[in-house]
């Protein structure tokens, strides 16, 4: 009798824990709809092969470089570990975590992230941090990223954070409760549509153009971590015209790269070499590149990786071929899907304009 009671008690406790776990999965945002940026970080853990190049940063990397193009053109394997408004310390801890799984030859970091010296928005923090697997790096990243009114416990038990979504649950939440669709191409967020640039708004005057000490501290940490692991660090500024990249910022990054012998590429100044044309290669007026732009940029950047950094060509290697074949197929499927959808949209909007 006592034994039976004990089993019932244990069973009840397990059922309660399971119910909370279920609710947590249900309530956590899935990022499978219009906003998908929050689903990018977690996809990395499904990777089966190692990567030569790891990109870390925000939309300046995950919307501007195409790992599939790097693979197809140069046989370079790469992955983008980026999320929306990913802060520099989040990039650092993501890199630290990535190094537990693999050791790339090159790490590419986007320097626009240097503009933030303090945590910015909880929603963006969540997009990066919720997707990370539990590790010491994640704990440290949470500690570094939390805003004043955020609570660590809500990261530990996200149900406490998302409990109020009971009224906002959609079919998407039920559909993706156990498994999510793959949405990125090795961390790259594909967009094929075009919205030509009409120029950026005038640059705002800043009170202080000096990057913050915390930003520098983490840039140093990224550099030292790369040095320690014998990884080449490349600093990049994407060809996005907004947010504005100030001359003062450029000088600081140039000086930093020069001081430590790092490669720094400002793609804003390399439009002729890359061939990126913001009249056709952007989907949002110059903030981010579309697929055409990302492919052009990747072709140019891949050449540097192959020639200057001697990244090996893995094409023909069975293990990689097998893994990348699937990725390439998925890439072209999605590309085709998006192109059709966009063409349809274009036709519809044209007919709406023609229709009096």
């Amino acid at each position: 009798m006592e034994r039976k009671k004990g089993f019932i008690r244990i069973g009840t406790i397990l059922a309660v824990i399971a119910s909370f776990w279920f609710l947590q999965r249900l309530f956590m945002p899935k990022y499978m709809g219009k906003v998908i940026d929050g689903a990018l970080i977690a996809e990395y853990y499904q990777e089966t092969t190692k990567h030569d190049v790891i990109f870390i940063g925000d939309c300046e990397v995950y919307e501007n470089f195409s790992p599939i193009t790097l693979w197809e053109t140069y046989g370079i394997t790469s992955y983008i570990r980026g999320s929306a408004q990913q802060l520099i310390w989040q990039s650092y801890y993501l890199l630290e975590e990535t190094l537990h799984y693999e050791k790339p030859d090159v790490v590419v970091f986007n320097v626009l992230a240097m503009q933030y010296n303090e945590p910015q928005k909880e929603a963006y923090n969540r997009m990066t941090l919720d997707g990370m697997n539990w590790s010491l790096s994640k704990l440290k990243s949470i500690q570094a990223s939390m805003l004043e009114d955020e609570a660590f416990l809500e990261y530990l038990f996200p149900l406490l954070r998302y409990h109020s979504r009971w009224n906002d649950l959609t079919k998407e939440d039920w559909k993706y409760i156990w498994k999510k669709d793959k949405i990125s191409h090795n961390g790259y967020y594909m967009r094929v549509d075009v919205k030509p640039s009409t120029g950026a708004p005038p640059a705002k005057k800043l009170a202080n153009y000096e990057f913050g000490s915390r930003a520098y501290q983490y840039l140093d940490k990224i550099r030292l971590l790369c040095e320690k692991n014998n990884i080449a660090l490349i600093l990049v500024k994407a060809p996005s015209i907004y947010p504005h990249w100030y001359l003062e910022w450029e000088v600081q990054i140039e000086n930093y790269a020069k001081k430590y012998g790092l490669t720094y590429l400002n793609f804003l100044e390399l439009s002729e070499e890359t061939g990126v044309d913001l009249q056709v290669d952007t989907y949002d007026g110059g903030l981010h590149l579309n697929l055409s732009g990302a492919e052009k940029l990747s072709v140019y950047f891949g050449k540097i990786l192959a020639e200057k950094f001697h990244i090996a060509d893995h094409r023909g290697e069975a293990e990689y071929e097998k893994a990348w074949k699937e990725k390439v197929l998925f890439y072209y499927d999605k590309k085709q899907e998006q192109l059709l959808a966009w063409e349809k949209e274009q036709t519809e909007s044209a007919s709406t304009v023609d229709d009096p």
């Binding site: 309660v16 609710l23 009114d149 149900l159 109020s164």
Partner: protein
């Protein structure tokens, strides 16, 4: 550290864990340390204030008792040698000495309270008078932060020292134990204002882990969380929208705001007290109930006997009775009887003591005129209803209303509306605005203006209203069930599966429907402010 914060829950979890691990003998010391730590979270410097109150109360209460013992010893020694008059004179001189010590203690501690809580109120009034006299002098405001729970612990300790003076019980000889009585952390922020003889019985003794008691305590805490997070904090945005925009929200909205506030205040305050009593229950400490289904009261008098019971009884015992029977009052009563007749003479001490009680009750709630007027309004309504008692009785008898269900319901609704109207002084926090909005509510008929969209414009969603309705129904159901005995006992008698689903459901309700975490303002308990 708010009761509803993660920090407090973490603190509580660790505290419970350690409390039952350490030897029973040391539990009260551990509790004292935890209380000091809890208090220090609000600011280490505030420990000085509560420390001063504790020490002064301890020394004075000990001195008063010593004087009493000296008297006993003296009389014993001089037994048979002192005449009755000599004995009487000696006792009077001893009483005088004790009184002087008591007075010193009261003045000292109420001065701390006055300086911390009321100095700026006084200065603001002085400045207003100076402005009226066209004076250029402006008295600068006093920069002093209000120590956590100062009104509660000061009143509690002054009640203790008065009881010692009255010889109600012996003074506590252990300073640490008295310090624990002053700082017992669950009740530090919003009461109840406990009596030493009630609390000390279980506060200083050791307690073993009793599964039933601990479960009951946790259940009570959970119920408090539900009231606070699911009801009070959820309705808060709507209350704030109405109250902070009196020019926009008029007429029917004033009534709505008044009723919403009644619900918020009840859920907030009783929820907080449930947590206090629940925490104490887990520890094995008995804290007296502070509410007894006040919204089911049929009169204002009954309401005040069932709402914030510990504060009401404090004022009755330590202000009302002593004032109404003090020498000057008796003389005044005698004078009135001889000059204005028996009826008036009899009423004067009672009326004056009642007025004093309600002014101090108002001031206790906050250093502002709206609280003073709130107190006076309560007093006026109470005295009028007392005077009209014969009329009521005649009316009830004539129309045979007594005991009828419909009439009882009318009395309950009337009391709620009346109390809520008076509470508008607490809502609007400004006397002219409160009067303006009260008359606006009675004279501006905009019933047709209120619709679904307007209700949703108050800052809460349709889903919030749904939760509030369910929460309120649950509150009322539990209150009704509570009339015939402990609801938790009733639940405990149910089969295990039923019990499980009730408490699991309640926990889920708090977890999912609670207004906490990111996106919600961590709202402190209303009574923490007093």
């Amino acid at each position: 550290m708010l009761f509803t914060s993660y920090e407090f829950l973490g603190f509580l979890f660790l505290f419970f864990l350690l409390y039952f691990i350490i030897p029973k003998k040391g539990q009260w010391i551990f509790l004292l340390c935890a209380s000091c730590l809890f208090y220090a979270f609000s600011g280490v410097k505030y420990l000085i204030y509560i420390g001063c109150t504790t020490l002064s109360t301890y020394l004075v209460s000990r001195r008063i008792e010593e004087i009493g013992e000296e008297q006993k010893a003296f009389i014993q020694q001089k037994k048979g040698t002192l005449s009755r008059e000599e004995k009487k004179a000696y006792k009077a001189s001893i009483k005088k000495k004790q009184w002087n010590w008591l007075l010193f203690c009261l003045i000292f501690n109420f001065s701390i309270l006055a300086v911390c809580k009321y100095a700026n109120f006084a200065i603001s009034n002085i400045n207003s008078i100076l402005r009226l006299t066209k004076s250029d002098v402006v008295v600068p405001f006093f920069s002093v932060a209000l120590p956590l729970g100062i009104s509660y612990y000061t009143f509690q300790m002054m009640g203790y020292v008065i009881d010692i003076y009255r010889g109600k019980y012996l003074a506590e000889k252990n300073l640490g134990k008295l310090a624990l009585f002053a700082s017992f952390f669950p009740q530090l922020m919003q009461g109840p204002i406990s009596r030493f003889d009630d609390l000390s019985e279980t506060l200083f003794s050791g307690h073993s882990f009793d599964i039933k008691r601990v479960s009951f305590g946790l259940q009570r805490i959970l119920w408090g969380f539900l009231k606070k997070l699911v009801i009070a904090d959820r309705i808060l945005p709507a209350v704030n929208t109405i109250i902070r925009n009196p020019d926009t929200y008029q007429g029917i909205y004033v009534l709505l705001g008044m009723l919403f506030y009644a619900l918020e205040l009840y859920a907030d305050f009783t929820g907080g007290i449930d947590m206090v009593i629940g925490i104490a229950e887990v520890l094995g400490i008995r804290v007296k109930e502070n509410f007894e289904r006040p919204y089911f009261s049929k009169s204002i008098k009954e309401y005040w006997n069932r709402w914030h019971i510990s504060l009401g009884s404090w004022f009755t015992e330590y202000i009302f009775y002593p004032v109404s029977v003090c020498q000057p009052m008796l003389k005044l009563s005698k004078f009135s009887r001889s000059h204005f007749g028996e009826a008036v003479g009899k009423r004067i001490p009672v009326y004056l003591a009642t007025i004093l009680v309600w002014i101090t009750t108002g001031i206790w709630h906050g250093a502002a005129w709206n609280f003073v007027v709130w107190g006076l309004m309560n007093c006026i309504v109470l005295l009028i209803s007392q005077e009209l008692q014969p009329c009521y009785r005649w009316f009830h008898k004539k129309f045979q209303l007594e005991g009828k269900w419909g009439f009882r319901l009318f009395q309950v609704v009337r009391t709620v509306l009346l109390m809520s109207s008076i509470r508008m002084f607490d809502c609007y926090r400004d006397v002219p605005t409160t009067f303006r909005m009260f008359f606006n509510m009675l004279t501006y008929y905009n019933w047709k203006e209120i619709g679904v969209q307007e209700m949703l414009g108050l800052g809460i969603t349709a889903a919030d209203y749904g939760i509030l309705v369910m929460g309120t129904v649950l509150l009322i159901t539990v209150s009704l069930m509570g009339r015939s005995g402990s609801v938790r006992e009733k639940i405990a008698r149910k089969p295990a599966a039923v019990r499980f689903f009730i408490w699991y459901g309640l926990f889920l309700a708090v977890l999912l429907f609670g207004a906490y975490g990111e996106g919600y303002d961590a709202s402190q308990f209303i009574y923490n402010q007093f």
